[in-house]
């Protein structure tokens, strides 16, 4: 009991320290983005309302956006609003950016989580297979495929899938999150698959899942290949370690040695890279989201950039920053859970 309480206390301390760091980083990030957004030439209020809106409306909006103040003052106003969850109006959708993010982020999360599950399961499975049968044809095949996966941008996969599975074979739906006429589940998490399961709507669940497959796989292949390569390298390395020989020598069955005693120490680099890939996918998915008409946050963000939609740009980047930082904390926790040495070192440094 004493040890458990101790561990919890250490965990709490660790989290607290990371949170403080994160807040600092986010603060810096917000200044960075705010600066990028405001060096833009032109009047954001005029841009927001269009060339033909009456000048008085534009003036009112300028007032409301504090555009007549100095940049630092503008920043404090902006920060105050942002802290209250108000990022202003989006120029593209013409409504509050917060509403947009609430609508588009879950769609992206669903896609990225699905891709993440594929990445993790597929990457580790392929990597393990490759390491287990090192230098055999299985290994060589997986390695060649991994290379192809790593160097091919996701949007190229997306186009190929669409042409093959959407057009030529017509196996899978091409666009959106649900087919026409399929009832939407009640909104709980915003992830349609999860919400459908929660509501017990199996048909909706399957339909949503089918919509996820093409964009999800297109997005997953790159990181899956990366994970497979890393897993293979670590495993091949660890496979020659004495402890594996020792565990085998003790008569522990191969399946247990591979699946447990080799897997766990080999997962640490894989997990670290995975979490970063996961967060990066959230941002890099825009071409995939575009091709499959997926209403996600990264398509929204890139659209905002192309249309110089400042409020949306700043908000999207901040949100991505938050996700990125959260994932980094998760990595530290998971790696700590996997590797007691790191945990012990952290404990000593307290």
């Amino acid at each position: 009991m004493q040890r458990q309480a101790d561990a919890l206390r250490r965990l709490g301390l660790f989290l607290a320290r990371r949170l403080v760091q994160s807040i600092f980083v986010l603060f810096g990030l917000s200044i960075l983005i705010f600066t990028i957004a405001r060096v833009l030439p032109g009047d954001p209020a005029r841009t927001a309302l269009g060339a033909r809106a009456p000048q008085e409306t534009v003036d009112r909006l300028r007032e409301e956006m504090h555009l007549n103040d100095t940049l630092p003052v503008q920043y404090t106003y902006w920060l105050g609003d942002a802290l209250r969850g108000d990022f202003g109006m989006s120029l593209v959708t013409r409504r509050s950016v917060t509403t947009d993010i609430a609508e588009f982020l879950p769609a992206s999360l669903e896609l990225v989580i699905f891709a993440g599950v594929l990445t993790l399961v597929g990457g580790i499975a392929l990597g393990t297979l490759s390491a287990r049968y090192k230098d055999s044809w299985v290994d060589n095949l997986i390695r060649i495929l991994s290379y192809a996966g790593v160097v091919t941008p996701a949007f190229i996969f997306a186009i190929i899938f669409l042409l093959v599975f959407g057009l030529a074979l017509d196996w899978l739906p091409s666009i959106g999150r649900l087919s026409e006429g399929v009832p939407k589940p009640p909104l709980v998490t915003g992830l349609i698959t999860v919400d459908a399961l929660l509501a017990g709507q199996l048909a909706t669940f399957w339909d949503a899942l089918q919509h996820l497959i093409m964009p999800g796989v297109a997005l997953a292949l790159g990181s899956m290949a990366q994970e497979a390569r890393i897993t293979r390298a670590t495993m091949a390395d660890n496979l020659n370690k004495d402890y594996i020989a020792a565990e085998r020598a003790l008569g522990i069955p191969e399946r247990v040695v591979m699946g447990r005693f080799l897997l766990k120490p080999s997962l640490i680099p894989t997990i670290s890279i995975f979490a970063l890939d996961f967060a990066a996918n959230l941002a890099n998915a825009f071409l995939v989201e575009l091709i499959f008409n997926w209403p996600g946050i990264s398509r929204y963000g890139v659209n905002a950039m192309l249309r110089k939609d400042l409020n949306a740009i700043t908000a999207v980047i901040l949100i991505l920053g938050v996700v990125f930082i959260l994932m980094n904390i998760v990595v530290d926790l998971v790696v700590g859970a996997l590797d007691p040495r790191i945990r012990l070192r952290a404990a000593r440094s307290d």
Binding site: P54, L162, E180, G181, I291, R307
Partner: protein, 528 residues
């Protein structure tokens, strides 16, 4: 391995069951792709997707006809005062909004005020006026000055349900006591009385509308009118192709390349439908930048360009522009100078131009819009043609927002910008105003920078002429004058092209060319 294959098996089975469950329901469904975004607030939307949605969600006082005139619609009749300033409309009775409440004269007045106060979208088309609803069926507008455009522009006054908008307006907004004027709510909802109503609108994906059986003019629905219509927000070639091939799309957007359309035409049960629009493709020359500030140089350019080859790059049937306005608009003058490729004439004009002797040291930039990649080939053709008269050309692509930015000031406006311009109404005068009146010089609608007060006065005079015949005569004169001035290259009138499933019965050419009315849904039939 075994466990894995078992999971896979279950998964595959589930997919099969899933696809069986999600099979189409019985309703007649019409799906069309559009270029996004789609603003369905009547005071905000003005582009193609928005105009099409608004035309179907809302009703207007008058309705645009295929011949360019307007006919009674919500207004059964109207009178115009002798001074041409006051228009009094008598409304049809018993028109119900989608929520079942009755459409009254006060709703019309509210809609007008709201549109003008917000000032976005089509607000600029409607002249300033005071509006008053004297009883439930009578509404009158008093203009500040006579306008020939007022009646035609009423097709852009979409009547909203005042009570519904007020009930859903946010208190906090830019518009004083009106709060946000319901802008946020109207983004994804409608407050109209039109033949279709918003069923579902996930902003980034599609707009789904359902047929409104309580429409006052329900008798006009063709018998096989769609029960459910979905405007899908994508124009990606591969995506559209896949949807069309799978029978998940009835009509494509107008942005597909000729190559894509040819391929779509090859699909079973898909045809290409074309119809003229009020959009024309201009090469806007900066009339204040050497060497294009000399009319002879401009004419030389106009004679050197190979229009026939340009047309050959477009869909068959596309016609060269005749004069400065699309030939679909009312008041178009077919008897103006039309430039065709004639290198002798071009050289003759060049010789008269003050820069003629030294033309090689006056290179010009041609800027095309990066978002419209089809423009590139015309720019490259232009470059090749100008080489024939010794005029060096740089081909440059710029994103739309930069073009908007650069054309807003004379000193940053390039030699030539290549832009498609659509007339908002079927009036030649409106297009002339949009393109050549000084008020539009600081916008992307005019790169010419004519800034000619005399021309401005003549355009305004024509527009304010209430009598249509007289007005059109003035338009004709103006067109001839501008054609001789050769301020721009008049390339071609755009032909709108859609790949259409043979399940669809659609005759857009019979509808008004006013943007949005080609897709007037009550007139489009869908067979299963």
């Amino acid at each position: 391995m075994k466990a894995l294959s078992r999971i896979l098996l279950v998964f595959m089975a589930a997919l099969l069951i899933g696809s069986a469950v999600s099979a189409q329901d019985e309703a007649r469904s019409l799906r069309i792709t559009f270029s996004w975004p789609n603003y369905i607030d009547p005071a905000v939307g003005s582009d193609f997707a928005s105009s099409t949605s608004l035309a179907n969600l809302y009703d207007t006082l008058v309705f645009p006809m295929g011949d360019g005139t307007v006919s009674p619609w919500l207004a059964e009749s109207w009178t115009i005062s002798d001074d041409g300033l006051t228009y009094t409309f008598t409304l049809r009775q018993g028109v119900m909004f989608h929520d079942g409440s009755e459409l009254l004269a006060s709703d019309v007045a509210y809609s007008f005020t709201r549109l003008k106060e917000i000032g976005e979208g089509y607000a600029y088309l409607l002249p300033a006026a005071t509006v008053a609803a004297s009883d439930d069926t009578t509404v009158s507008f008093t203009l500040e000055q006579p306008s020939g455009l007022f009646l035609p522009s009423l097709v852009r006054l979409y009547v909203v349900n005042e009570d519904l908008v007020r009930a859903n307006a946010l208190a906090d907004g830019l518009y004083g006591e009106n709060g946000d004027y319901g802008k946020e709510w109207l983004l994804t909802h409608d407050a109209g009385s039109g033949p279709y109503m918003v069923e579902e609108f996930p902003l980034a994906e599609y707009l789904q509308m359902a047929k409104y059986d309580g429409w006052w003019n329900a008798a006009s629905f063709v018998p096989n009118a769609a029960d459910r219509v979905r405007f899908i927000g994508t124009t990606e070639t591969a995506t559209v192709r896949s949807l069309m091939a799978d029978g998940e799309l009835e009509i494509t957007d107008q942005w597909q390349t000729n190559e894509a359309l040819t391929a779509l035409d090859g699909l079973d049960g898909v045809d290409i439908k074309t119809f003229p629009t009020m959009t024309s493709f201009y090469y806007m020359m900066n009339n204040r930048l050497a060497p294009l500030d000399d009319v002879h140089c401009r004419r030389a350019v106009a004679y050197a360009f190979n229009y026939q080859q340009a047309l050959a790059l477009e869909w068959p049937g596309t016609q060269q522009m005749v004069g400065p306005v699309p030939s679909t608009v009312g008041g178009h003058n077919p008897d103006v100078t039309v430039y065709t490729r004639d290198l002798d004439k071009a050289r003759e004009e060049l010789a008269q131009c003050q820069y003629g002797a030294d033309i090689a040291s006056y290179p010009i930039d041609v800027v095309w819009i990066a978002e419209v990649p089809a423009e590139e080939r015309f720019a490259l053709l232009f470059q090749a043609n100008m080489a024939d008269i010794g005029l060096p050309v740089n081909v440059i692509s710029n994103p739309w927002l930069s073009v908007v930015e650069n054309t807003s000031r004379q000193e940053t406006s390039s030699h030539i910008v290549t832009i498609y311009v659509a007339s908002d109404l079927a009036e030649a005068g409106l297009m002339l105003q949009q393109r050549y009146h000084s008020s539009t010089a600081p916008t992307w609608q005019q790169n010419e920078w004519l800034l000619d007060p005399d021309l401005d006065a003549r355009i305004m005079d024509a527009l304010n002429t209430a009598d249509a015949g007289e007005r059109f005569a003035k338009y004709a004169e103006l067109q001839a004058y501008i054609a001789d001035l050769s301020p721009s290259l008049f390339l071609y009138d755009q032909l709108q092209k859609h790949a259409v499933s043979s399940r669809v019965e659609w005759t857009p050419e019979a509808n008004s060319p006013v943007m949005g009315y080609q897709f007037y849904l009550p007139l489009i039939g869908v067979n299963s």
